[in-house]
């Protein structure tokens, strides 16, 4: 698929890649939430043991981690858009963007720890 005369969907950096990834990650998150909801409903009554055993299989760990990675990417694009729209000074904007990346990366590491302690 070509956008305009020379730009390709698989090409480099037109902002299009992030736009597309925001949609792709949104779909991943939607599918994960649906799958999780089905698991929760079928595990009722949901006490501690039933809840923990949902996250014991490696498949569920992997799916949850992929959802967290998708969430981090999705939130990065969204927050970057917010900073770009409302924060004009370049220095402050870069600081906020950098902070967003570090914040999300830290959350991702934490998510890994939470999941693999189960």
């Amino acid at each position: 698929m070509a956008i305009g005369a020379r730009r390709l969907v698989v090409g480099a950096h037109y902002g299009l890649r992030d736009w597309l990834m925001q949609r792709a990650t949104a779909l991943v998150l939607t599918l994960y939430l649906i799958a999780l909801a089905i698991q929760i409903v079928s595990a009722r009554p949901l006490d501690y043991n039933a809840w923990v055993s949902l996250f014991v299989p490696l498949g569920m760990k992997a799916a949850t981690l992929i959802a967290f990675v998708a969430l981090a990417y999705h939130a990065w694009v969204g927050m970057r858009n917010v900073w770009m729209d409302y924060v004009r000074p370049v220095g402050i904007r870069m600081l906020l963007q950098l902070g967003t990346i570090l914040w999300l990366a830290a959350c991702l590491v934490w998510a890994v720890q939470i999941l693999w302690r189960v």
Partner: protein, 131 residues
């Protein structure tokens, strides 16, 4: 000489008087809900951690979630997720050129509220253990 039309950006004071159409309301709430979930992500992770770490921490979670303020925050998070999800699906449809004309866009914007608000109310009722 005719008066030239001055084009300027909205100033902060204009926000109160500006009549935002429904799709605009859906759009700004999409942003607000997304930002809210981003800011409360550590809280969500902390609650997730408590829910999984041990039987004891699970009980701790129930304790934490029993206060009215915690229930309010959780309800806000539930609303944010539901609004963001439903409005996001509308965005995906718009990306596929579905319902881009003004009337259809306005109708689908109303549909977002028709779907997300009752779901959010339902979630809040469950959180407050009314249901």
């Amino acid at each position: 000489m005719s008066a030239r039309q001055v084009i300027r950006n909205l100033s902060f004071g204009d926000l109160v008087r500006y009549r935002l159409p429904v799709p605009g309301v859906v759009s700004i709430l999409h942003r607000v809900s997304g930002a809210l979930m981003f800011l409360l992500l550590p809280l969500t992770l902390w609650l997730f951690d408590l829910s999984l770490r041990s039987e004891l921490s699970y009980q701790q979670l129930r304790q934490v979630a029993s206060g009215w303020f915690a229930k309010l925050v959780l309800s806000a998070l539930a609303w944010a997720l539901l609004h963001h999800l439903v409005a996001g699906l509308r965005h995906l449809a718009l990306d596929l050129d579905l319902g881009v004309d003004r009337i259809a866009a306005r109708r689908s914007a109303w549909m977002v509220f028709v779907v997300s608000v009752p779901l959010a109310v339902w979630a809040a009722l469950i959180i407050f253990r009314v249901m």
